[in-house]
Symmetry: C2
Subunit: 265 residues, 2 copies
Amino acid sequence: MNMDGDYAEQLLVDFAERTKVQLVGDSQIPLYHQLARVLQKFIQNDFLQAGDRFPSEEAVGACFNVSRPTVNKAIQELLADGWLNRVRGRGTFINKDPHVQLSLLNDKLSLVEQFPRHKFKYRLIHKRIEAPIPRINQILGLEPDEPLLYLRRLRLMDEQPLLVCDSILPAERFPGLGEHPFVNGSLYATLDQEYGCPVLRSERSVEASEVVECEVATLLNVPLLSPILLLTGIAFAEGDEPVEYIKSYLREGVSLKSTVQRKPT
Amino acid sequence: MNMDGDYAEQLLVDFAERTKVQLVGDSQIPLYHQLARVLQKFIQNDFLQAGDRFPSEEAVGACFNVSRPTVNKAIQELLADGWLNRVRGRGTFINKDPHVQLSLLNDKLSLVEQFPRHKFKYRLIHKRIEAPIPRINQILGLEPDEPLLYLRRLRLMDEQPLLVCDSILPAERFPGLGEHPFVNGSLYATLDQEYGCPVLRSERSVEASEVVECEVATLLNVPLLSPILLLTGIAFAEGDEPVEYIKSYLREGVSLKSTVQRKPT
């Protein structure tokens, strides 16, 4: 931990110089909000750690050539979003806690093992039978007239929303799924233990996106058009049977980690 | 391919109903731009494929309760960004080509193998020796006073920008790196063949972010504060020696794919 404000101020000057960030005065996005987004990127980068002192309002203003009220509004936004915390009489400090790193393996156990002092849970938001969707029926290897089961879940860590997960499954393959709580709160444990259908492999892809759906914005507690990580994928059971079409929305500050091992050549 | 406009219109109505998208009239973001972002998500979802006919302007207007000029401006934006293409006398069609899926393995070969008819290349944007950065020196296992080599590259597919990749390496470990073209255009091939230092493992994490740096926006040809996928990571050589700190910015429409195999329990 680095409690010296000068250190953070030097890093901020370096960051601004290095990245050549420019705030746009005549943009449709208010200046304080642009500044908050820039400062959030400064907090998120690897140069600082949780507990480090944040630069003074004067230093931030001088660095980006903006007024004190603008800096103050930006810092209020970062305090509200949990990127900073203020200790009365001591100053403003980096708070990296909102940044959560999930394993790409996405099994509940690994998450619990990774953050043993935190509480994770799912909340089932929607469960309904839907009419077939040609592309999805094709992906799931279903006849064109087979109905689909749609589940929307919200995943929380210590009551804070992490991600919204939409699952589409063959409705007739899993009768009654979602009518009772999942085994250990896990969809995959339920498929395995109640339907004899363990998920063995999963193809995922991630990309940058924005929140356009009101319900997703509300569930994740972020504004519409906020940046999100969109994860789409297909889960396969034995015999490469596709059993789940997945679409997850991860809010900013939640990252997915993976390790890549190169095959010896 | 589905050439029937009614089909796409029904899908759009379903999409709007399912996702309960709402355009915000009094937002600081213009209505046509909000609509363009929503329609882009509709194009990107898995219900449609390249070559399918896009719904008529009337149908889009009725679906989202907006005027024809607003719809037209949104569609112009999508045409300009390459999400749609218009064939004179025939109509407007889905164009999913801007969507590129990269392997998380990020080795040049796999990308070339995956898209054999496309041309990939890197452009070196910056190469400079930088003063130590405490956190990065620590990550790379360097003494506090050791200088760093900073490389910024732009990766292009058929001359279209895909991602900006920042690499920070120990400057003294790789003298002269970046002064000559990379072996086969690959940094890792160069580390391997010219410095006897093959990269064997890489830890990566991805998260949602926004473009705050002007140069990154310019290189990727996207507006400031556009959503991007931020990939950060560390590459390791033999003996778990950390040799590269990585930060990549992937524009919307570029996704990272991975397959997860569950260990038998």
